[in-house]
Structure formats: structure tokens, C-alpha cells
């Protein structure tokens, strides 16, 4: 019991500490691929520190919701990220909140972010919220379908169990899993405002979705929202890592050495996934907004196909 609590706390601290670094790494790789020097790896930490020390400037007609939302968004994202096994399975909270809950917690964060975008009553906030909810209306079911595929495959919706099952001898290669992986990758790109769906680096009204919603934020509120965004990226990459490349993850109750290996393996997996993500990003161009639903619709269909194949191909356990 105490063991599981310790893993859980370590996990929560780890994701929090690592998330800005992951942003730093992706930015660095991207810059290098574009033949730029790029900012230092720890630049996101410096940015966050700078922002939280600054005075927050908010619009005159902003309500309490506008001020409270960043903290709740951050909290739900953090809780969700802490539920994804990174270096070890057997997390305390994993038995209380399964993969569907993780998806729904991200949904709560998005719901509040979209409301915060509408709070001040500007056209940019509205455009961001409206498009974000349109993307979510396809991305969330796509994610759930991928979750269904994984759950049916492993006979559990709990992420620790799924991860342990994938490490075990019974897991084989399956077409459904491949479909779920593709769906999950598309959702990762869509949900984290990466190119080709959204471009976090611009402030052009035609391209921005996520940035438009948080346009009115500054100071500590902005810092907290940025931290939540990087936590979300870490969450998705950890999720793909723990399910599809589970090797190295320490099983619950393994010795200290296994944990050390788990940590090392996790770092390598994250770096590799970040590299692949950025490779993809630099190789594609931004889509028009109304092409995005087709892109996400593909994910939904693939996820559904994966689920149907598992439904008809085997008796569930």
C-alpha cells in the first residue's frame, strides 16, 4: 500500500517536473531540424518562472471563472497525467480512475478552457472556443474508441493493468492495436495543438485555436495554463509509450534496479516519441480549419474499426 502511494507521488512529481523539459526538447529538436540554434532546453522553465513572477493583467469584465479556471484546468490535467504509468505500473490511483476517466478529466479541462475563452467577450476568445469544441467533438470519441480497443484487447480499462498486460506474454501483435495506435497519434496531434491541426507559434487569427482561447491571459494565469498544456503533451506521449512500447517499465513491487531501468527507458521513449512528433510536424504544412474534421474523422473511423474487429474476432475476457 505505502509502496503504491510512493510510486504515485513520485509519478505525480515526475510528470510535473518533466513536462516543461519535454516542451523544451521538442522546441530544440524542431529548431535543429530547421537549421536554427534554438533556445536552451531549460527555456520553458525560465519562461514559466518569469510569468508567475509577473503581475497578472486581466480584462475589466473578467469574472471569477476567468481567474479560477487556470488552476482547475491545471489540476485536472495534472491528476490525469499522474494516472498514466511512466516508469512503473501499479500506481495507487490507477485502481480508482481508469483510462476513460483520464479522457474525461481532459474533457473537464477543455470544457473550462473553452468557457474561459468566452468569458471576456472578445471575438478571438469565441473563435478559439468554438473551434476547440468542434475539434473535440471528433477527437474525444476517437480517443475513446482507441481506449475501447486497448481495453478489449487487455480485458481491462485500467491503465496499469493494460500496461502490465502489454508487458506480459499474452500480448501479441494485432491489427486492432495498430489501428488504435494510428488513431491515438492523430488525436495526440490534434489535442495538443500541433501542426498540422494548429500552430502554437503564431498569432494569426486564421490559424490559432488554442492560442486564441488564452489570448486574454497573462502572468501567473498564463503560466499555469502553459504548464497544463505541456503536461497534456507529456500525458499523451507517456500513454503511447506505456501501451505500445511497454518494454522497460517496472512492474509493481519490482526492486530498485527495475525502477532505475524504468526511468531510463521512459526517458529514451519520450525522447524518441518527441523526435518522431517533431519530424512529422516539420514535414507537414498547416491544414485549413475545415480539413481538420476529416483528419480527426479518420482517427474516429480507425478507432471504431479496431473496436469492431476485436468485437467480432474474439470472446472478451
Amino acid at each position: 500500500m505505502t509502496h503504491e502511494w510512493l510510486t504515485q507521488l513520485a509519478q505525480a512529481a515526475l510528470v510535473l517536473g518533466l513536462a516543461p523539459l519535454l516542451s523544451g526538447v521538442t522546441r530544440k529538436i524542431r529548431a535543429r531540424l530547421l537549421r536554427r540554434q534554438g533556445p536552451s532546453l531549460v527555456q520553458p522553465y525560465r519562461d514559466l518562472l518569469k510569468l508567475i513572477r509577473k503581475e497578472a493583467v486581466i480584462a475589466e469584465n473578467a469574472s471569477w471563472l476567468f481567474r479560477a479556471a487556470p488552476y482547475v484546468i491545471f489540476a485536472t490535467t495534472w491528476v490525469a497525467a499522474a494516472l498514466v504509468p511512466t516508469f512503473a505500473t501499479g500506481l495507487m490511483l490507477s485502481a480508482s480512475a481508469d483510462l476513460i476517466v483520464i479522457v474525461a478529466l481532459l474533457g473537464t479541462a477543455r470544457f473550462l478552457l473553452a468557457l474561459a475563452g468566452l468569458d471576456v467577450g472578445t471575438s478571438f476568445g469565441g473563435i478559439g472556443s468554438s473551434r476547440e469544441m468542434m475539434f473535440a467533438s471528433l477527437a474525444e470519441p476517437a480517443m475513446l474508441m482507441a481506449v475501447f480497443t486497448l481495453s478489449l484487447f487487455a480485458g481491462s480499462t485500467e491503465l496499469s493493468s493494460i500496461s502490465a498486460y502489454m508487458l506480459g506474454p499474452n500480448a501479441g501483435v494485432s491489427i486492432s492495436l495498430a489501428l488504435a495506435l494510428v488513431a491515438l497519434v492523430i488525436v495526440t496531434i490534434g489535442e495538443n495543438a500541433r501542426i498540422p491541426v494548429d500552430n502554437p507559434a503564431t498569432h494569426l487569427e486564421l490559424t490559432m485555436v488554442h492560442e486564441a482561447m488564452i489570448l486574454e491571459y497573462s502572468g501567473r494565469h498564463l503560466a499555469v495554463i502553459e504548464a497544463a498544456a505541456s503536461l497534456k503533451l507529456l500525458l499523451y506521449l507517456s500513454l503511447i509509450a506505456c501501451v505500445f512500447i511497454p518494454w522497460g517499465t517496472a512492474l509493481s513491487g519490482a526492486g530498485a534496479l527495475a525502477y532505475a531501468i524504468g526511468l531510463g527507458a521512459y526517458a529514451i521513449k519520450l525522447a524518441a516519441l518527441a523526435f518522431l512528433l517533431v519530424m512529422f510536424e516539420t514535414a507537414t504544412a498547416k491544414m485549413r480549419v475545415f480539413r481538420v474534421p476529416e483528419f480527426l474523422g479518420v482517427a474516429l473511423m480507425l478507432g471504431l474499426l479496431g473496436t469492431i474487429m476485436l468485437f467480432v474476432s474474439r470472446v472478451s475476457r
Binding site: 485536472t76 474525461a104 478529466l105
Partner: protein
Amino acid sequence: MSLASPSCLSQLAATGVGLLLVLAALGILAARRTLGSRLIYAACMLICSGLAVIALAALLAPDSRSEAIELAVGLPLGRTFLGFDPLSAAFAVIINLASAIVSGYAIGYGAHAREPQRVVPFYPAFIAGMNLVLLAQDAFSFLVGWEFMSLASWALVVSEDTSEDNRRAAIVYLIMATGGALTLLLAFGLLAGPEGGYAFAQIRRAAASGAGPVVLILALVGAGSKAGLVPLHAWLPLAHPAAPSHVSALMSGVMTKVAVYGFVRIIFDLAGPPSWWWSVPVLVVAGVTALLGVLYALMEHDLKRLLAYHTVENIGIIFIGLGLALAFEANGLGVAAALALSAAIFHVFNHSLFKSLLFLGAGAVLNATGERDMEHLGGLIHRMPITAVAFLAGCIAISALPPFNGFVSEWLTFQAILVSPQLPQWIPRLLVPAIGATLACSAALAAACFVKAFGMTFLGRPRSDAAKAASETDRWSQSAMLALAGLCLLAGILPGFVIDGLAPVTRMLVGARLAPQSTQPWLRIIPIDPARSAYNGALVFVMILIAAAVTAFVVRRLASNALRRSPAWDCGFPDPSPATQYTAGSFAQPIRHVFGSVVFRAREHVVMAKPGEISTARLHVELHDTIWETLYLPIIRVVDVMADRLNRLQFLTIRRYLTIVFAALILLLIIVGTWR
């Protein structure tokens, strides 16, 4: 006879219904004064609370299959049987709990009614009718209660008949209600068989008469039209918003649940053992209902109509659970059936809480601003803070987001979907994943819908003078809304108790129950197997609270706490006119673009001014209610033509009438002759 014995509880409940009817009569006199109507609503609140407690006692009584009490004052063809069994007791708890809180709201809100004498007498009668449906243990009193409920609610719908829309709503509602009751009458007729035993106990004994499929269709049409299953939902978004808001809350949050009860009673209890294919029509209709309901809601700018359309979606979710339960039960998968049925009835409970809450909030907004159109609202979070908090809780709950209650029932439904590969038949196996995708889609769209509803109504800048001048609603209304919001949260973080409360129902209907949940350590719920899935709403809630509190504390204490207010940034070009904000229409535009071009045949065209001409460009949006146009309009046209033709019969000469009578006589004689 001890006080807790089932038949004593049934007697008490029947007395409660009688008291409500007395209140209805008193209401005619009392409605003349504000104090009088307040007293009537207060009495309703007390009686409903009492009925809820009685029903809860009946539900939790150890020997919960009750004896019905027999009344000698029965209908001509038999005696009246009234009483609770676990099914009706569970629904009675749900219905009376919501009715009690809504009545509390009405103590404050009802005082604003323009013509209280048209509302107050029918309100208790409406609640009495719903309770009678639940208490009925024979088909006659069931149908009497059903009609009572329909007519009383119809009277409430026409209570504000000044607008053309409301009058149209009333006529459509009356027609649909009559049709629905007729199909239920036929369903009971088939169930009772040739012997004609109309008591539920007799019907159960005579079950499996082979009329099952017909009864299924009749029940789907009869109960489904009252609940709002697509395509029989047409009356619902017209009639629910037409009534005063507290009645809308009852109609949408509570009466649709009575309809679900009717379906469950007929199909799960009376119609005998189901075949697996019964689940197919139910699941298909439910999936279509869930998806279309939320899409309709997204296109709607009228706050109350949006909520009414969204009821259609939730009914779809409930029927998905019921359809799964049918499939599992037919295959003898007891625990899975209990899971699906618990999910459905849990959602019934949840929806009764948050839909009532949202309608009450819409009523408070309507009362404060005189507006239902979201395009004229905005910024109310500043002027109606309590209403805003309660409405926000309702929005989060109905969007199925943790830690509120809507998520739990949806999670349970997903778990039921995930055990359905156990089904041996191919058709449901192929169908269920698609239903799962539909459910996931409709949940995500619901979130978009309620971002729109809350965002346009309460956030942003006021879009009209009425919204600028709004003030907070009265204390009674506030407390009622906060109570419902609190219950939404409570049911979300302590779902184990609700699931345990439903165990007698699942045992009665599908012969199995889920493992006891409220005794689980840490308030977890584990529907089937701990290795498979578990959810702990309380822990998730506490973790979010701790994480948010720690973050806020650390950031504000250790870093900066300074805050400055300034004009909005808006990329450097803030515009003072509130018309530059996003509107409800523009918010839904991307979704209309993605989904609407097929479902609503949505078309947009822009009319630009000619070069050199000074006039505004206009965007025209064309939306079609496809179901109304393809299904209802042809029927209406046929009825019109027929009425036109028959109309000529009124202006014949006496000779022609005699000829027609004679011809009819001959015709009948020929028929009778050939029949033998």
C-alpha cells in the same frame, strides 16, 4: 401491521397522491393570491418529500416485493391495485425528489406567474398523475394515471397561450399524447390476453403469449413518444419550453422518466422473457436519438428549447443502457444485464437532477431578463452569481464530466458496452461498437452544446439592455438550484450508494445484481471485477481539489499575487460593441459545417452588396428539420386532404344522406354475410 411493512407504505403513498389531488382542488381557490399559490407549492414540496421518503423505505425494505393494496373503488371492469415494488419505488424516489425541489423553487418562482390560476391547480394534479402511474399495479390505473399526467401537463403547456408557438405546441402535444396512450392501451390489451386479467400480477403469470414483438413495438411507440425517442420527439422541444419554467423542469426532468418507467415496466417486467433481437430496434433508435438530439440542441438558440432537445439526447443514452440490458438478459448474462440496467436507471436519476436544475436556471434567467434567446443574453455571471454557479454545475454534470454525476452513469454504460463481446449473436456484436462510438460522439457534442449554453448566457458582455439590467433571482429559487447542484456533485462522488439502491430493481427485473458497492474501501465502485475497471469519484474529486489548492497557494504565495484590471487585449483591437462577440450562431457554425450539411441540409450563402453600393452584406443560413419535413409534414398533408374531402359530406341533401346510409347498410350486410 408495522409502519415499515410494504402494504402500509403503499397505503401512505396512495394517501399522498390523494392529498395532491385535494391540493389541486384547493389550488383553484388559492391561486387568486400570491400567498395562496406559495402555500400550495410549499404543500407540494412537503408531500413530495414525504412520498420520496416512503418510496425510499419501500425500495430498501428487506422484503421489497410488496403486496398491492386493493381498492374497492375500482374501474368498471375490475378493482384497482396500488402498491410499490422495487421498480416503481426506485422511480418514485427519483421523481418525488426532483418534484420536491422543483416545488421549492416554485414557491419563489410561481409568484411571478402572469395567470397563476391557470398553473397552480394543475401543478399538484400533474405530480399526482405521475405518482399514480408509478403506484399502479394494474393496467387500468396505469393508463388512468398516464392520461391524467398527460392532460394536466397539457393544461400547463397551454397556460401561456398568448403566443402562436405555444398554441401550436399544445395541439401537437395533445395529438402525440393521445396517440401514445392509444398504443399503450393496445400493448396492455395484448399482454392481458383473452382472459383479460389486467392486474400486473395476472399479466406476469400469463406472460409469454407470443405477442412479444408487437408489444415491443407498441411500447417503443407509446412510451417512446412520451419520452422523446426520435422520430417521435417532435412535440417535446415545442411543448416543454412552452410551459412555465418550473413545469418545464418537471416535464423534461421528471415526466420523461415516467415514460422510461412505462417502457421498463412493460418490456422487462410484463412482456415475459425477451429474445435477443429485441435489443436491436431499441439500440438503433436509441443511438439515433442520442446523436440527433444533441445536434438539434446545438443548432438551437433558444435556451429552453436547447435544453428540451438535449433531453432527447439523454433519453437516447438511457435507452442505450436499456437495449444493452435486453440483449444481456436474453442471453442469460445476468450480471452484465444488471450493469447495463443500473447504468440506465442511474442516468434516469442523474438526468432528473441536472435537467431540472438547468430548466430552473433557464427560468431564473427568463424571469430576470424576459429573454430566452441566447443571442440577447450574456454577462449574467456578474449579475446572477448564484444562478450562474448552479447552472455551471448542471452544465458540467450533463456534459458527463467528472467529478459530477453525469459521468458516472456514462462510465457505467461504457463498461456495459465493453462487456458486450460476450454476446453470442453477430448483429448486436457489430451494432454495439457503433453504438459506443455514437455515445462517445454525443457526449463530446454535449460538452460543446453546454459550453455554448453557459458561455452565451452567462459569460461575455451583455448583448441586450435586458441582460445588462438583470438581477439575481429570489432566495427560494436559489436554494432549490443549489440543492440540485449539490445533489449532482454528491451523486457523482458517492455513486456506490445509488448503485446499491438500484440492486433490488435489477434483481427483480433481470434476476441479478451488481456486487455491493457502498461497502467497498475508499468509496470505490467496481462494477464487475477490480482488475477490469474501477472508479472512485470521491478520490478524483479530492485529488483535483488538492492539486488546485496547492497550485493556487504555491503560485500566489511564492510568486506574484499582483493583479491589474485593464481593457480587454483582443490582439490590440478591442471593440466596445458587444455585437463583436461570438454569438450562439457563430459558436455552433463549425459544428453545423461538419455535421449539419447532411443532418439538417444546412446551406449558407452570403449576399454581398454590389461594388460601389453602400449596404450591409448578409449571411443567410438555411436549416431544415429533416424529420419534421419527411415524416410529419406528409402525414399532416394527408390528414388535411382527407378532412377537406370529408368536409363535403356536411353539405349534402337529405336524399343523398339517406342513400349513403342505405349503401352503408348494404355494405355491412355483405361483409357480415361473407364473414361466415
